[in-house]
């Protein structure tokens, strides 16, 4: 039987890129169908296909790495580069929304009364729930670091506890933010203030949910003994992503909630 004479991973053919592309097509065209013909069938189909694609693709990666040993050091290095580049692209994504916010708030137009916050807008008090949210995410940054050290030191029970706590804090943030959204005296339709506020914090909230999900998958894997003290890149990637989410919040808090009030 032939063996590969290198340490890299030549991945087996997979249907998931195709199903992912089809999902993207169905979701986008489904969106247009929803707008024009009031039917959500196509879009929902696309969403389901997307979820199935993600589940099976990442399941396969776990099989290839954890069970089949394909994630050698050079392969892991590539995965690290990949995650860092992805997070970098997300940084630029948020940079755009911060640009929009500062463009609008540093030079408010006459329609807003030439002032920021605009006339008629009562911003949220930055020292109430938003400050609590800041504390929650900062604490979750501590607990995820605790989890990392626990994994590296082979402390199984502590790793599970701290990772669980991290996820709970993430869920707490999401719940708090959801109530803030519900109770806010302004909406996304309230001028450029509403637009910048809800688009920036909304995408951030989505990333918190994504990050919490990623961490939850890591928790399941940790419980099932996937991670070793030396090799646990999936967890590291999740932790990097989580720190990124925390940093974005800090910028949001200082810029939009605090300075912008």
């Amino acid at each position: 039987m032939a063996h590969q004479a290198h340490a890299y991973h030549m991945v087996d053919p997979s249907p998931w890129p195709l199903t992912g592309a089809i999902a993207a097509l169905l979701m986008t065209s489904g969106l247009a169908i929803w707008f024009h013909f009031h039917s959500t069938v196509l879009m929902t189909l696309g969403l389901i296909l997307l979820l199935l694609t993600m589940y099976q693709w990442w399941r396969d990666i776990i099989r290839e790495g954890t069970f089949q040993g394909h994630h050698t050091p050079p392969v892991q290095k590539g995965l690290r580069y990949g995650m860092i580049l992805f997070i970098t692209s997300e940084v630029f994504f948020f940079l755009g929304f911060f640009w929009a916010f500062y463009h609008s708030s540093l030079a408010p137009t006459p329609e807003l009364g030439g002032c920021w916050p605009p006339t008629g807008i009562t911003p949220l008090d930055p020292f109430e729930v938003p400050l609590l949210n800041t504390a929650v995410l900062l604490a979750s940054g501590v607990t995820v670091t605790w989890a990392h050290h626990s994994i590296m030191e082979g402390e199984r029970k502590q790793a599970i506890q701290s990772l669980t706590l991290t996820i709970l804090l993430g869920l707490y943030f999401t719940a708090l933010q959801a109530t803030e959204y519900y109770e806010a005296p302004f909406t996304i339709a309230d001028g450029v203030y509403g637009s910048t506020f809800f688009v920036a914090t909304g995408f951030h909230g989505l990333h918190v949910i994504i990050g919490s999900t990623f961490l939850a998958v890591c928790l399941l894997r940790q419980v099932q003994y996937h991670f070793t003290s030396e090799h646990h890149f999936g967890f590291e990637a999740a932790a990097w992503y989580w720190h990124f989410v925390d940093v974005v919040w800090l910028f949001l808090y200082v810029s939009i909630y605090w300075w912008g009030s």
């Binding site: 030079a107 137009t109 006459p110 009364g113 030439g114």
Partner: protein
């Protein structure tokens, strides 16, 4: 007509000193400050060269006098200027009003006048004085005051 007790040129000290509004209760202290070394606007560092009032004014007149100033820069400049702890000198406001003219922004021109009145706070004599100084410019550019439009009352 001059407000009672004031002669042209009105001492800049009076305005600058009277308008260090941030230090409430220390007004007598600020009134006695010598004319050109008053701490100015943007920053009060503990060291480093301190910008004089004239330099401050000149900088802002230059800012608004840029021939191709764009609408964003005009609004940004006004917001920054109004954020300072002072009422801008008429010459700065004149340059800003002319920038509004170049940009066809009458709304902002009138808003500038409203901002002057607001920044004066309890010093009710400042706004009429500034309007008086700007009257030729207001006439030339055809800028009505909020009072003339009846929008000065809520």
């Amino acid at each position: 007509c001059h407000p009672p007790g004031m002669r042209k040129p009105v001492s800049r000290t009076m305005f600058r000193a009277a308008l260090q509004l941030s230090v409430s209760g220390a007004r007598s202290l600020t009134r006695s400050r010598p004319q050109y070394t008053a701490s100015v606007a943007a920053r009060s560092y503990s060291h480093g060269k301190q910008e004089t009032d004239e330099e401050f004014d000149a900088r802002w007149v230059t800012y608004f006098s840029k021939p191709d100033i764009d609408a964003w820069e005009l609004r940004k400049g006004m917001n920054t200027l109004i954020g300072y702890d002072l009422v801008p000198e008429p010459k700065i406001l004149d340059a800003a009003l002319r920038a509004c003219r170049r940009l066809n922004d009458l709304a902002s021109a009138i808003r500038i006048l409203e901002a002057v009145k607001d920044k004066s706070g309890p010093h009710k004599e400042i706004y009429p004085y500034v309007l008086q100084e700007l009257q030729p410019t207001l006439n030339e550019l055809g800028i009505p005051t909020p009072e003339e439009l009846g929008i000065d009352k809520a």
